[in-house]
Symmetry: C2
Subunit: 230 residues, 2 copies
């Protein structure tokens, strides 16, 4: 609270207990290990992960800000149920943000990162042929992250990550066939092509077309697993 002290600062990654619990919980929720509506208890999670309640509590605060869990004071914490109304806003937000990223990428894009993208796409293409779901999704994240980084939009990417979590959770419910995987890779290529051509309008269209597809099967999921929805 004193005068603005420099505080030298040298970046740290901080492998703290709180972050560990937050990451594990986040992954567990996205992968449907904890399905929507699951009751979470600070104490129970603390025991399971062998930490005290405090780190768990702080992790839950972070997750509640993203919207993955709902903390009801003095009552309990539950994994947020899926809502079509909410998912629509998620889609709109992600489209808006990632469209902005690729449009900016058309203005300037780090050539080094541009080079690394080819490798990512190649990996993904190979995984698509083999139907390797894990590799596909990992490469997908890398691809979108690389776009943001190359366009100097890392802060925006952090925002995208939050909404992306919701979409990833839904995607875990829709089984992907190889055709849709190949389409995915082609859509990625189309986006990169647009950026290479420095065509903002084309890039915008390609990105929105790509993202639109992800929630295509939402109505089917709603019909099959209504208990996941609110």
């Amino acid at each position: 609270m004193n005068a603005p002290t420099p505080l030298p600062l040298g970046h740290s990654k901080a492998p703290s207990a709180t972050r560990g619990v937050a990451d594990r919980l986040r992954q567990a929720i996205i992968s449907m290990e904890f399905p929507p509506g699951t009751r979470l208890s600070e104490g129970e999670i603390a025991t399971r992960y062998d930490v005290s309640r405090q780190p768990v509590r702080e992790a839950l605060i972070s997750l509640s800000r993203i919207g993955l869990v709902q903390v009801l004071p003095q009552r309990g914490t539950i994994v947020t149920r899926i809502s079509t109304r909410h998912m629509m806003q998620v889609r709109i937000a992600r489209e808006a943000l990632e469209s902005a990223i690729v449009q900016r990428a058309c203005e300037r894009f780090d050539p080094v990162i541009r080079g690394s993208i080819d490798a990512i796409l190649e990996t993904q293409a190979r995984a698509a042929c083999e139907g390797d779901y894990m590799t596909i999704t990992a490469a997908d994240s890398q691809f979108h992250a690389a776009l943001a980084t190359g366009a100097d939009c890392e802060m925006i990417w952090q925002m995208v990550l939050d909404v992306k979590a919701h979409m990833d959770r839904v995607r875990h419910l829709t089984l992907q066939d190889r055709d849709s995987m190949r389409i995915l890779v082609e859509q990625h290529r189309a986006i990169v092509d647009a950026i290479d051509q420095r065509d903002p309008e084309l890039a915008d269209h390609a990105m929105r077309h790509h993202l639109m597809e992800i929630l295509r099967d939402l109505p089917r999921v709603l019909a099959e697993r209504a208990d996941f929805f609110e």
Copy 2:
């Protein structure tokens, strides 16, 4: 962690100590009471606000997610310095999100909320004539929030609020004359007009034009108060 229990749930606002500290700290940072670079200490803030360290800590976690403070493990917490690179991304993100909101507003907009907007604009217009800065900014928030709510984009508005905090902080450094206040109101009117005409392209343009102006004076602030920047 059990079977998905309903957990009746009846909404609550939760006037907790954590939330109280978070709100007060947020306001203090935006209003430059705690200027960029200020060292914050959990214990010190706890004493000042007469709560224990835990609520303070949890409040700081929330603020660090927004990016208003930086928590350096085992070293300290500081109010984030302003960065032109960061502010550019903030502007891009807010433009993208609010543009998406008004475009959606052109498709459908709650008529009741549409009615309340006129009152907000009238209040703001009166405040602009009198140079009432506080009322102006309060009405500005209400206006943008009403747009989001009317377009059924409350979740997106929550995201906007986070980036808006950074812009509000900068705006506190640029003194507003009455002319720019009047221009502000006119820009708001232009946005509403575009929505009334159901013209997405016009609405998009009006909103972006409006938001662009906010950071116009950023270079001047940088020249005058370089110590606020990193």
